[in-house]
């Protein structure tokens, strides 16, 4: 069997962030794949909540969007979106939220709004969607994004979602009752956050990736946790699940 690709390693690393019985607020694509992988391996009782108002979906196909009809058919519950946001997310019932972003800073704050000036943007991005509230209200968040220097800037062009704010106890000082970002997973490695400064630090490199390659794609002086680890390669059965059952057409993992 060929070794895991970098995007497969990203999916596997994301799946490892799910604990059994976690209630996960999830979008489509990579996060969805990661949760389904976790459910097929170490976390069979993890539950998915889609912000479109679906709990306990059992789709008969890979959904293209979080509003796919296959998510409603056969779900445990389909409810008004207001209930997903108030009773589930704001009600404190979400253990993990997955987020992506166009930019992330060293404290895990995210930009999904604009590149450039807000009034005259060079690129208009989608905006907050559910991200600002997921980042604020899920017990912890896991951030998935490709590693590029312009996506890891010293300063965000716009702060759409708050992570660890300005570090230290600043998130808590804002009134947060949740832990904020716990992991950042890219196609090059896995990051955590230092317990006291709350600054992002590299925990592991994916197999075959060098520290210099990572540093070249980060816009600030990157902290590295010692000893720097290598992302554990997935079991063959895990790879088989990904390739043959969960994403057989390679829609998500390429």
């Amino acid at each position: 069997m060929r070794p895991a690709s970098l995007s497969e390693l990203m999916a596997v690393a994301a799946a490892r962030e799910i604990r059994d019985q976690d209630v996960v607020f999830v979008g489509v694509g990579l996060p969805n794949l990661a949760v389904n992988l976790a459910r097929r391996t170490h976390a069979p009782d993890a539950q998915l909540v889609y912000e479109s108002g679906v709990y306990g979906a059992r789709p008969a196909r890979q959904p293209l969007s979080i509003g796919d009809p296959s998510l409603a058919t056969g779900a445990i519950q389909v409810m008004p979106m207001a209930e997903t946001f108030t009773y589930f997310l704001q009600g404190g019932r979400i253990d993990v939220g997955f987020l992506g972003a166009a930019q992330i800073d060293r404290f895990g704050n995210l930009n999904t709004t604009v590149i450039g000036d807000y009034e005259k943007p060079t690129t208009r991005l989608p905006g907050a969607g559910g991200a600002s509230e997921i980042s604020w209200l899920a017990r912890r968040t896991v951030i998935l994004l490709p590693q590029k220097r312009n996506k890891f800037p010293e300063r965000l062009d716009f702060r759409t979602s708050v992570g660890h704010h300005t570090g230290g106890g600043s998130r808590e000082a804002l009134g947060s009752k949740t832990a904020g970002p716990s992991r950042v997973i890219t196609n090059l490695g896995v990051y955590g956050f230092d317990a006291s400064s709350k600054e992002m630090e590299l925990h592991a490199l994916h197999p075959g990736v060098t520290l210099d390659e990572v540093r070249a794609e980060v816009g600030w002086e990157l902290r590295v946790r010692e000893p720097l680890e290598t992302t554990e390669a997935p079991e063959p059965e895990t790879l088989r699940l990904l390739r043959e059952e969960l994403d057989p057409k390679g829609v998500i993992l390429g």
Partner: protein, 305 residues
């Protein structure tokens, strides 16, 4: 995470503690009488009981002495008159004093809504010019940051235990209800622990075949108890009718402490379970209260493969 299937005796013993804030909800429909009776049998005490309308279930529980406080919107026997058990507690402190904290229906459901939503308060247009805020310090005001107008505000209510009756659930607690919905969803999401009592346990496939009908997922339910006729003399839409004769007769039964206690002796303490209670009726409930069927037409969710 998902519920366990328990007997009522186990559910009440494990999830209802003395002194708890308990909300046994259901607006006329699906009132969890069998759970109330088990709370009486287990002689719980010092409960703080919450309900929009205390109804006969709280009249019985308060007359049995399980409560020290009542949080409510309207106390009465709907369409009939007074609840004498509660009146004796309030007017004569029998069998023990009962303190009251009162709102309107809108006010109390707003408290549950805030509790379910993870908000510290909910605002509503109510109470201006009334004496209610003067006797209840939990009715305050909040100013709109846009218009400057003042609105009533009530604090979130998060009961220790919510008890709901429902038509059906699967063994994981995924629960479906039809007919009047009351504040069932709000109270389930607001409470720290939830007991669901159902007419029947169905397979998960039945739930998944109509997901828009689901009231609450098993995620928020701690215990599921299967007890047919568990809502009697209240009702379960499609399963049995409200026992209006019982409600009408309660005016007489509850009129004196002695006659109310005689009822409890026979129908609550005198039986070990809802099963025995139903047997004691010797088939009368089935004969008298079963409606003719009236099925909803199916809707097509479609198979998307």
């Amino acid at each position: 995470m998902s519920a366990r299937l328990l007997s009522m005796k186990e559910a009440i013993s494990q999830y209802v503690d003395d002194g708890d804030v308990v909300a046994a909800e259901g607006f006329t429909h699906l009132i969890p009488f069998s759970a109330g009776h088990e709370i009486i049998r287990q002689r719980k005490k010092d409960l703080i009981l919450c309900r929009l309308t205390p109804d006969l279930i709280y009249d019985q529980m308060i007359a049995a002495g399980v409560a020290r406080k009542l949080i409510f919107g309207w106390i009465g026997n709907p369409g009939v008159g007074s609840l004498y058990g509660i009146r004796r507690a309030v007017e004569k402190e029998q069998p023990r004093p009962l303190s009251l904290e009162e709102y309107s229906h809108f006010g109390l459901l707003s408290r549950l809504k805030a509790g379910a939503s993870g908000l510290p308060f909910m605002h509503l247009r109510d109470y201006d010019g009334t004496d209610l805020p003067a006797v209840n310090g939990s009715i305050r005001t909040v100013e709109c940051p846009f218009t400057g107008e003042s609105l009533a505000a009530v604090p979130a209510l998060r009961p220790d235990v919510a008890i709901l009756h429902a038509q059906r659930a699967d063994s994981s607690g995924n629960t479906q209800v039809w007919g009047l919905l009351g504040v069932q969803k709000e109270v389930a999401f607001a409470a720290k622990k939830v007991i669901v009592v159902v007419e029947e346990i169905v397979s998960e496939d039945v739930i998944r075949a109509d997901p828009n009908r689901t009231l609450v997922p098993g995620l928020v339910v701690d215990a599921v108890v299967a007890e047919p006729f568990g809502a009697h003399p209240s009702y379960a839409q499609g399963y049995y009718d409200r026992d209006n004769d019982f409600y009408l007769g309660w005016a007489q039964t509850s009129r004196t402490a002695a006659s109310l206690e005689a009822y409890l002796d026979e129908w609550v303490y005198g039986v070990a379970s809802r099963e025995e209670y139903v047997e004691k009726y010797e088939g009368e409930l089935e004969r008298r209260l079963k409606p003719q069927p009236n099925l909803s037409p199916p809707v097509d969710y479609g198979l998307y493969t």
